[in-house]
Subunit: 557 residues, 2 copies
Amino acid sequence: MDGQMMDQPLLLNDLLWRTERLFHDKRILTRLGPGSYHSYTYREYGRRVRRLASALKSLGVEHGDRVGTIAWNHYRHFETYFGVPGIGAVLHTINMRLFPEQQQYLINHADDSVLIIDEDQIALVEQLVALGIPNVRAFIVIGDGPLPETTLTPVHRYEDLVASGDENFEFPTFSENTASAMCYTSATTGDPKGVVYSHRAQVLQAMCLAMHDKLNMSERQVWLEVAPMFHANGWNIPHTALLQGATLVLPGVHPVDGDYVQIIEDLKVTGMNAAVTIGTMMRDFIRDSDRDWDLSTLDTMWLGGQAPSRAIMEWWEQSYGTHVVQGYGMTECTPQICFSSIKSTLTEQSSPEEIYALRQKQGQPIPLMKIKVLDESGNELPWDDKSVGDFWVQSPFTAAAYLNDDRTAENMVDGWFRTGDVGCIDPDGYVSLKDRSKDLIKSGGEWISSIDLENALMEHPKVREATVISVPHEKWLERPLACVVPEDDSLDDDELRAFLGQRFAKWWLPDEFLLLSEIPKTSVGKFNKKELRSMHAAGGSDGMRSTLGVGQRHPVA
Amino acid sequence: MDGQMMDQPLLLNDLLWRTERLFHDKRILTRLGPGSYHSYTYREYGRRVRRLASALKSLGVEHGDRVGTIAWNHYRHFETYFGVPGIGAVLHTINMRLFPEQQQYLINHADDSVLIIDEDQIALVEQLVALGIPNVRAFIVIGDGPLPETTLTPVHRYEDLVASGDENFEFPTFSENTASAMCYTSATTGDPKGVVYSHRAQVLQAMCLAMHDKLNMSERQVWLEVAPMFHANGWNIPHTALLQGATLVLPGVHPVDGDYVQIIEDLKVTGMNAAVTIGTMMRDFIRDSDRDWDLSTLDTMWLGGQAPSRAIMEWWEQSYGTHVVQGYGMTECTPQICFSSIKSTLTEQSSPEEIYALRQKQGQPIPLMKIKVLDESGNELPWDDKSVGDFWVQSPFTAAAYLNDDRTAENMVDGWFRTGDVGCIDPDGYVSLKDRSKDLIKSGGEWISSIDLENALMEHPKVREATVISVPHEKWLERPLACVVPEDDSLDDDELRAFLGQRFAKWWLPDEFLLLSEIPKTSVGKFNKKELRSMHAAGGSDGMRSTLGVGQRHPVA
């Protein structure tokens, strides 16, 4: 027997419907430059979103078409967040930090038919065209002035397009399972994998994040979205801010650490979300600054991507009364999986030490999210805070498949998704990750594939063996370290750096290339990265050199 | 193009899955008597819910079967909230305050196959059996002691049944559109109308209520559910408390005003929801009490059903710092439609007078809820706080139909539901109801149908004309007043009261029977209730008598 309720789909359009009416006077602000902000209301936002949607339709964008963006966090990028899915098209936010060959791959794999790009990305996109993105049939350039000279064609000014649209455009209705957005995630091997979100998933995720005991997103928040909007829906924070009618603050183009601090003071920001490194760099900026900053309005700082250190939690708490919280998510989960609020019963029973330890865990699963940890044989492990295994999740906002990708079967099994993370769960459902996806390095909030670097190194004629491990870094939290056994003694760092520089973005390149006589192996003959990391932790690069020997292994005399 | 997300349904079972694990140590408390409480954890709750579910299955309850309850607010009633829908059966909560013929109608119309009843309802249910409820094939009696003598058969002790169940029972998975619960709502004419909820509707509604800017239901709340659990899912509050892992407090059998006050003091209750009359009666109890009460923990008092007066808001605020909020809902909407949180921009701009006026409005629509006001020709009216019309709503938790009822077509039109309320919407989306469903009287939070009373009165041989209007009442907020034109002078109040007493519950009976010479009519010949209400407001019953004449209209000499 079915319930007799209306068959009303969960659509992003309907979140906008409500916000335009109820919170029409609340604002979206974008940093333009020092002390200068663009500001408009959700009413104006809604009008422009509808203009954009109707203009995209006029341009021939159909239900199901993919529209790529390469853009910073600003109000126009946010307009695409609702304008593109509003007509049933799919917003494909492209990571600006990838190197061009990766971007080319994503655009072709997603079959983007239109690209909406920031003006400062024109040279890059011209390069992509040269590499080959044959299915893109229009380019839309976001900027304030006239359209710059470009070989891109056909090309439109974003503002002209919006001006040509109909502010009374009515969004169509369609199934809540319709694709709304997509993002690619780095893979341990091979090309990035595409995740396609639905309206249903994004609406449900925003509702979960708007609940109490999460990031504290109420209507009265002034929320600074630092996490890039090309990262897994900007952590779905812009949607949640809109749902709640919160004031949304976007840092604009090329922000640096001091800009965030300035924005918080200028606009009396009350909450923000960013990668852990940003929280650290903001602290360093303030420490080194020659004036005091009034950040007393900042209640909540959500640091994600990695676990924030106790030191950084304490510094913000003591300096500004800012509560540092963390969540854990991934592109495949729209993206939040866990959030680290502390249960009242634990708050009452625990020492400050215990509370800090709890706050450094990845948190409890958000509503609608089921989790489990399995051992190597696929048996479910107890929630005892000790039994470590593969971490699996299941929810209406978790990917069931990667887009056109035969790696789906590796990770999506029996209705569950294998995160690739390894960890344990405590008796209250708090997750502790012990080891992230073994072969990825997270540097400043961005993934670097150690396998990709290794494979490239191994192609160098003077390299016999090579592996890349993650080592801790004060600023970026992790950086790649290359361990190389050379074929002959003529190989040096510079040659390897230049060799990798031909294919990878600069920030991917290992900071150090350790030329060693051998690389330890596991029992099955794989590079023993765990041992390498332990050796590095104990004695640094010098210790590794002295243990493993330097350079080519010369035949024993 | 569809998103590639897991096809995970929104099921009540999955809310329970999370709460059993994450909030296993949080508690559900039920008042047993003065200073005495039953208390157990959500872990124990979950085990008993699964035992109940498996025992119901053993009893032959199948997917889609209706299971009726006639019970007070206590932990065992709450067990049925998840145990019955958990197996795909439908929880039919029957209003304890209806008179037996109405209950008989509901049970037969819903086709309840099992009834779960409180021990003190046995005599009533025996009466229902005598009236005829032929499809009920088992009775389950909730109580602590042995089964009382009863003619009900077959009859089971609830506790025996739970003890026989399997605490490791695994809930099946099914479509989120599966019926989860049902309630009947009074109609202006004819029998009550059945509303059938789905898992999807109840999960979405609980998520909305758990969001910031609603009733403030966080994990750390100690929440007292005063609203009857047979009323529209107990306003969906028990589900929301469970979702959030909040401490849930239930007032047990036969609670009176002073009990609520005692519970709040005993258990340090932080939030509660109740009909407006309860908030008023609690105030009166405290005022008349000969001792001080420490209700300082009580942050939030949600008074619903009608708009709370400014006086009651101020009294609670000043006495205990308790913030009185209101919501607006109805059985057809699972049940919440609006919630009266005040936007920060309005808080900043408004005088205290304006804020109180705003707080007395019914509030803004909750997320996923669309609203509109239409004039008599079906044209949409502007949101100008002036244009009054029919109030319509649309959401995934609004009824698309009444169960097997040809009155569906009157209220469900083009995917919208006509609430029967009349009101306007202000430019910020705050709804003000001006006139409720014209022919219903809301007395102490319960509906009384004036039409039903009128129809019965008209059947009395000495009644020529009769109409029943709603008049304000200090305690019950509204009470019915009967206006009767007698056929002859021998008719008196007592005769009419006794006549109605044969078919209606005592609390339905009008407090006063005004015997008048005439009843004013509208231009189309209907009783002019609006004019009657105005006359009563201006001069009371005496004024009405002097204007309209007393008793039988004697022929003009």
